[in-house]
């Protein structure tokens, strides 16, 4: 049996379940309480779980992320919501210098079982300061896990293993996915360690994640009409990357297009390409292509924002060029 659910509802259910099942879990962030969450993920939570466990915070990412680290060190299981990845830069010191390092710096004596959720990505005309995709920066840091749920199942299922993980987990939710709907099975098997093939193919593999997954699937659908079967690999976990799955996709299809909303320079797609060189070079039948964001601040104007982002047409064009 399955039932239809939106990404937003799936995420809300996941948090509701965690708050219900584990008294150590609490939610903290800007507007998560009285307002019901910037994206309405926590609507009704304040009334149901009370102000002790649903805590509105001042506009101080540095402060409340640090408080979350302290709470997790003290034995709680905080879910800290940061409104967008752009604002998370204010909390970088807490995440990179404290959360990611405390296990190492304490010689294994301290764990930081903290979950930080944040919105990422563009496509909703929120302009440059609310639209960037900086998850690749977090994926650079040893000591944290970085997740990118892109499906209803992952939105519903990734939070529980993230909370169970003894180390900090950062979850990136792409703002363009919140209203997407899909079927959720009654039971799901969701891990936070592997990539998953979302569509089988053999002529070209799309390696993608998050908000770019639906675009890659749409491109694959278009290409199928021309007899080109594209495999779509959803990375799901940006750190640690599932190199085995990436290499397997290369070995199967021999051509790869990496699709993500990072900028190319030093981005996550660059890391994926480097791993392909290291682990699957002799399986390549064409140079790896990237469809990423243009190297500009994401524009506000609709047509310019669309032009700056990966789109199914761009992916299709990259494949056509690759096939010659």
């Amino acid at each position: 049996m399955t039932r239809k659910l939106s990404y937003r509802e799936a995420m809300r259910e996941a948090m509701h379940e965690a708050l219900t099942n584990d008294s150590r879990v609490f939610l903290m962030g800007e507007d998560v309480g009285r307002y019901g969450g910037t994206y309405a993920f926590s609507k009704g939570f304040l009334e149901e779980f009370g102000p002790e466990r649903i805590r509105d915070t001042p506009l101080s990412e540095l402060g409340f992320v640090g408080a979350g680290i302290g709470a997790s060190l003290g034995g709680l299981r905080p879910i800290v919501e940061v409104m967008t990845v752009n604002f998370s830069l204010l909390a970088l010191d807490q995440i990179v210098n404290s959360a990611a390092l405390l296990r190492h710096m304490s010689g294994g004596q301290f764990s930081v079982p903290l979950v930080i959720r944040m919105c990422t990505g563009a496509g909703r005309q929120l302009a440059a300061q609310h639209s960037h995709s900086l998850e690749g920066w977090y994926a650079h840091i040893p000591g944290i896990k970085v997740l990118a749920p892109a499906t209803i199942e992952d939105a519903r299922g990734m939070l529980a293993p993230a909370l169970a993980d003894p180390d900090p987990v950062v979850i990136f939710e792409h703002c363009g996915l919140f209203n997407t709907e899909g079927e959720l099975p009654d039971k799901w098997d969701v891990d936070i360690s592997s990539a998953k093939v979302r569509r089988e193919g053999k002529h070209v593999a799309f390696v993608t994640y998050g908000g770019s997954l639906p675009k890659a699937l749409a491109a694959a659908e278009t290409l199928a009409a021309d007899g080109i079967e594209a495999e779509v690999l959803d990375l799901r976990v940006l750190r640690p990357l599932d190199t085995v799955a990436i290499a397997a996709a290369v070995a199967k299809c021999h051509r790869v297009v990496v699709v993500d909303e990072n900028w190319k320079s030093g981005g996550l797609a660059a890391e994926v390409v480097a791993r392909i060189m290291e682990h699957a070079f002799y399986e390549l039948d064409a140079p790896v292509a990237r469809v990423c964001a243009e190297e500009v601040p994401i524009p506000y104007a609709k047509h310019m924002e669309d032009a700056a982002l990966p789109q199914p047409e761009k992916i299709v064009a990259a494949v056509k060029e690759m096939l010659g």
Binding site: H254, F281, Y282, E283, L284, D285, A286, E321, M322, L323, G324
Partner: protein, 380 residues
């Protein structure tokens, strides 16, 4: 500027694959210095430079297969100022004409034994793709003999090279043959006595004595020692004995024992051992591959009684020694004895010499072998 071109390392060599550069741009090179290792159908060969100079540019890329005569490197002569002549305001490296072959296509072609040179690329900019290799593999056999589907076989390559050289020899060279039975009683007795007083590592084999005798005799028969090229014969200044060495995996190579005329028996023995070792290890020098002026084939203990050889072009003669065996031998007093005897043969190019001279050469060889103690002392 000097163009250093891929030398022919033997009549059977049409092309070679660069395995390694031993020098870099800016290095000073001397004549005879090994500057590259090139894989031929027969062996990996150290290629020597034939002129002193400074390496200006390495044109050939490692892995590149090129026909003989391809410019491999540009050398500047000693004292030549690069750029002085105006040509050389070091232009940016010319785009290499390397074919685009995808890594997967290359790997697959190797596995299937497909010759990538024959595969037409259909990818962007003519790149050879996996599909192109698949299609080539599915094609019926091309006009030339199809390769077996297994990995390219080194011994098959060598067989092809030998076939080409031997077919050319029999096509172009009018061979004549003469033979002579030679008593080795004195030579072997001398060898035995000589070896008794030598440490194990310095002992001599009969082959060394035979080779020395050939070198000495050849000095009087220049028409047997040299090259027939472009319709005329040029005698060689030195006697470089090509020694046929069979390889354990099959096939043979006849590298040169350089300047054998100037070596005594001991030195020939040392040279021979070194040559056999390096031939089987695949580390011959280019001069050893290309500069033999005559070939000697020595069948040894396991061979037949006599051998009439096929001349290795552009050489003009081949001396063959059969198995040394006890045979009845009449002496000057009318007596009959069993003596160790070898049958020496000469296959020679009738365009250059006649049978009479060939017979005289074998007679002289026989005579020399009756005075082995003098051979050791003879310098030339």
């Amino acid at each position: 500027m000097i163009e250093f071109k891929l030398p022919s390392l033997g009549a059977d060599m049409d092309d070679g694959t660069l395995l390694e550069w031993k020098v870099g741009v800016g290095d000073t090179v001397t004549k005879g210095q090994v500057i590259a290792v090139v894989d031929t159908a027969k062996a990996a060969v150290d290629v020597e430079c034939w002129t002193p100079g400074t390496v200006h540019e390495l044109v050939a890329e490692v892995g590149q297969k090129m026909p003989v005569g391809t410019v491999m490197a540009i050398l500047s002569e000693s004292g030549e100022k690069v750029g002085a002549c105006g040509t050389a305001a070091v232009s940016p490296a010319a785009p290499t004409a390397r074919r685009m072959i995808s890594p997967a296509a290359r790997k697959h072609a190797e596995k299937r034994g497909i010759d990538l040179d024959a595969v037409v690329g259909s990818g962007p900019n003519g790149a050879v793709t996996l599909d192109d290799v698949e299609n080539a593999a599915a094609q019926p056999a091309p006009v030339t003999a199809p390769k077996p589907a297994a990995t390219p076989d080194k011994s098959a390559e060598m067989r092809k090279a030998i076939a080409a050289a031997m077919a050319r020899s029999k096509r172009e060279i009018p061979h004549y043959y003469v033979a002579e039975e030679i008593s080795l009683a004195k030579a072997l007795a001398w060898l035995q006595a000589e070896n008794l007083r030598r440490p194990m590592a310095e002992r001599l084999l009969p082959a060394a004595v035979l080779l020395k005798a050939v070198a000495v005799a050849l000095a009087h028969y220049p028409e047997l020692n040299g090259f027939f090229r472009d319709g005329s014969f040029a005698p060689a200044a030195k006697i470089n004995l090509g020694v046929a060495i069979s390889l354990r995996q099959g096939g043979l190579i006849a590298p040169a024992l350089l300047d054998a005329g100037a070596r005594n028996v001991t030195q020939i023995m040392q040279g021979l051992m070194d040559l056999v070792k390096r031939t089987r290890a695949g580390s011959l020098k280019s001069s050893e591959m290309s500069e033999a002026t005559i070939t000697v084939t020595n069948l040894g203990d396991q061979g037949s009684q006599l051998v009439f050889g096929v001349i290795y072009p552009p050489q003009v003669a081949l001396v063959g020694f059969g198995r040394v065996a006890e045979r009845p031998w009449g002496d000057a007093e009318g007596g009959l004895k069993a003596l160790p005897v070898v049958t020496a043969t000469l296959a020679a190019d009738h365009r250059v010499s006649d049978g009479h001279r060939g017979a005289l050469f074998l007679r002289e060889l026989a005579e020399l072998l009756q005075h082995p103690e003098e051979l050791e002392g003879l310098e030339k």
